[in-house]
């Protein structure tokens, strides 16, 4: 039984930047998304003091504050003692979305300091100034926030793969299998731009890793002979230890081989061991094939030939991967895109009853605004959200959703990573 819900009118709202704060449970500032703090650091300190006080009032009663609604602004709290995460947003997204954002901030912090280190430090000194240990990571946190604003993969807990011929993908996969004598290698990832060619890693960990790798200090070092080793904690894999990640960029600006290894100490990659995959990628011409493919990665809704279709988001539940066309008219305008992403988040939230909706999870959810129809549909193998022109009848919307599902099924081999080699 489809659940129908008509949104009379979503006013054309603006999207003021969300504000994020991280503080310790002693009220010490750790991070703020405000970039112009110099002139108001006193304000900030007192604001953080106030947040800490608010949290404490509830904590004294053994309760946890979740959010404060003030008009159209919502202040959300995520408590991960010894750290508190706070977001102020007027976007009218579901509360669950902001909780995901705040949790990602937490994962990113853990990737730098690990959960056990954090615990130990604050057991010893509960008024420790964490900024000392996080020195130099502000950039990564800001990058994460801008990804959270745009990347629907993050909020749907899934990954985006490069659209690639199956044969090319499996050839690349075989080349990436490390030689037998290189033990302790956990996995090897090949990235084209921010997308993935091969994978086998928890989505949230991968997003943390991808975000860290997008730090300009890594990619701007992309002299042909350069590579980096960085210690990182991937919290879903092991929140108490570091892995070493070996990253090398080649072929262009944004292709990277990532090679997180558990205990392997950094070894100079001098034309022999670790760079073998690099060399063979080049010599077999596969690298060129991959780079060409990355240029053809995007596709248009027109390719599907579904009348009235403006955009869609398809998540393969078994592969935990998403695919969607490029943002096209009118959604290439940032505010329109933000509006549509927020609608997707509302649909996703309703489908999964993320905000504790009384009626429980839904199979179908239908929204109609002045500018478009957005419909969400959950089945066993996939989740699909389609966006169509506003005045279409419901039968046409359902027909379009079926057509999209059929098209993705046909293209599945190119759209998703289906089998990664295991070693």
């Amino acid at each position: 039984m489809p659940h129908l819900h008509e949104l009379p009118h979503l006013p054309n709202i603006a999207f003021p930047p969300r504000e994020y704060f991280i503080l310790t449970n002693a009220g010490k500032p750790v991070f703020t998304s405000r970039t112009h703090v110099e002139d108001s650091s006193d304000d900030l300190t007192s604001a953080m003091g106030l947040m800490q006080a608010l949290i404490s009032v509830f904590a004294d009663d053994g309760d946890k504050i979740r959010c404060i609604n003030a008009g159209r602004t919502r202040i959300s709290f995520l408590l991960r003692s010894p750290l508190y995460y706070v977001c102020v947003s007027s976007w009218r997204e579901p509360e669950s979305v902001i909780r995901v954002h705040l949790d990602y901030l937490h994962q990113q912090i853990l990737s730098v300091v690990t959960a056990s280190q954090l615990r130990k430090i604050f057991e010893r000194r509960n008024n420790f100034d964490l900024r000392r240990l996080l020195d130099g990571t502000d950039g990564i946190l800001h990058l994460l926030l801008s990804r959270l604003e745009q990347d629907v993969g993050l909020t749907t807990g899934s990954l985006g793969a490069v659209r690639l011929d199956h044969s090319v993908r499996s050839k690349a996969g075989d080349l990436l299998v490390p030689p037998k004598d290189l033990r302790d290698v956990l996995y090897v990832l090949l990235l084209l731009a921010p997308c993935l060619v091969k994978q086998s890693i928890h989505p949230s960990d991968l997003h943390v890793l991808l975000n860290t790798l997008s730090a300009p200090s890594l990619s701007s070092n992309s002299a042909p002979s350069s590579s980096s080793w960085l210690p990182i904690c991937l919290p879903k894999y092991n929140s108490d230890g570091f892995l070493h990640v070996y990253v090398t960029f080649f072929g262009g600006k944004s292709e990277a081989i990532v090679d997180p290894s558990a205990a392997l100490p950094p070894t100079p990659i001098s034309g022999s061991d670790g760079s073998s995959s690099n060399t063979s990628l080049r010599s077999t011409g596969l690298l060129n094939a991959l780079i060409t493919a990355s240029g053809r990665h995007g596709y248009s809704t027109n390719d599907l030939g579904v009348p009235g279709l403006r955009h869609f988001l398809y998540k393969s539940r078994s592969h935990v991967q998403i695919t969607m066309p490029v943002w096209e008219e009118p959604y290439e305008i940032p505010d329109e895109r933000k509006r549509l992403i927020t609608l997707y988040q509302c649909v996703h939230d309703a489908l999964h009853a993320r905000s504790g909706q009384a009626q429980g999870p839904l199979k179908l959810h239908f929204l109609r605004t002045e500018k478009e129809i957005v419909m969400g549909w959950v089945t066993q193998p996939f989740e699909l959200i389609v966006t169509l022109l506003p005045h279409l009848p419901k039968s046409a919307v359902v027909g379009a959703a079926n057509a999209v599902a059929k098209w993705v099924k046909k293209e599945e081999g190119r759209l998703f990573i289906r089998d990664a080699p295991v070693f």
């Binding site: 980096s228 990640v245 205990a263 950094p266 100079p268 001098s270």
Partner: protein, 264 residues
């Protein structure tokens, strides 16, 4: 693919030299020095290094070709425990401080102490006071107390030539360029010779002094020693495979520490 098995000291085979850069965080200029040396580039306002970057650069010295394998480490406190992994087996280290920041020399001294205690006993250490461009309007070399020529670089036209020994504390009212200097050259030089280090003042921005650092290191490195150890071992500056001579014991110890440190 490089196979060093047949190297045996032939003159056209590059000699691998593992070199590590160390120094305080907050941009003393380690990465900029490497960028200048490897790519002859300078970028203002670089983002902090994460972990360590690995770059290589060949360098001709007399009839030999050296291939520097450079580990550019992040200076932040949280990366300190990883440093032994980078300096173990290193034949050379460049310890960088910022001549406009007195505290960075203290940090440099503690790195030198750690290297002398724990690194390869033959390691060649160079101390580099970076950001010479900030205290020197013209790119004249050597003596920095006589910046008599007008500035040749487009940034900040400074015309006042202060005494090099003047410290900012004594002369706070002076807007002159030398007033930015917090570490007198003489002081750092005296420390360097006492500790047995090569010493340079450099500017990654103008390029001044950068090549000298690497050529002077090349002169001082015991090349024959490296050659004899590569002939027996697996590969150049890489881990393991050394003889039980000299550094070996120390190196293993360093490795163990490194692992402990990162798994804690």
């Amino acid at each position: 693919m490089a196979d060093t098995g047949d190297a045996s000291g032939s003159t056209d085979k590059p000699i691998q030299v593992k070199l590590v850069l160390l120094g305080e965080a907050s941009s003393v200029g380690k990465s900029s020095i490497v960028m200048r040396f490897v790519n002859n580039e300078f970028h203002d306002n670089k983002d902090p290094t994460i972990g360590a970057a690995f770059l290589t650069q060949k360098c001709r010295f007399e009839d030999r070709v050296l291939r520097y394998e450079i580990w550019d480490t992040a200076g932040q406190e949280r990366f300190h425990s990883l440093a032994p992994m980078y300096y173990r087996n290193a034949q050379a280290a460049v310890v960088v401080y910022d001549i406009t920041k007195a505290s960075s020399l203290d940090k440099a001294k503690s790195w030198v102490k750690e290297l002398q205690r724990q690194a390869n006993p033959n390691i060649v250490i160079a101390l580099a006071g970076n950001k010479l461009d900030l205290v020197k309007p013209a790119s004249s070399s050597g003596d920095d107390s006589e910046p008599s020529t007008p500035p040749a670089t487009p940034h900040e036209s400074e015309d006042e030539a202060d005494d090099a020994t003047a410290t900012p504390g004594e002369n706070p009212a002076s807007p002159g360029v030398e007033s930015l200097r917090q570490v007198p050259k003489e002081e750092a030089q005296a420390y360097a010779s006492e500790a047995g280090l090569l010493f340079f003042e450099t500017s990654a921005k103008s390029g001044e002094g950068i090549l000298e650092v690497f050529t002077e290191i090349a002169k001082k490195i015991p090349i024959e020693h490296i050659l004899s150890s590569t002939r027996t071992g697996s590969r150049g500056g890489a881990a393991a495979g050394g003889r039980p001579a000299d550094g070996a014991v120390n190196l293993e110890a360093g490795g163990a520490r490194g692992k402990d440190a990162c798994n804690c």
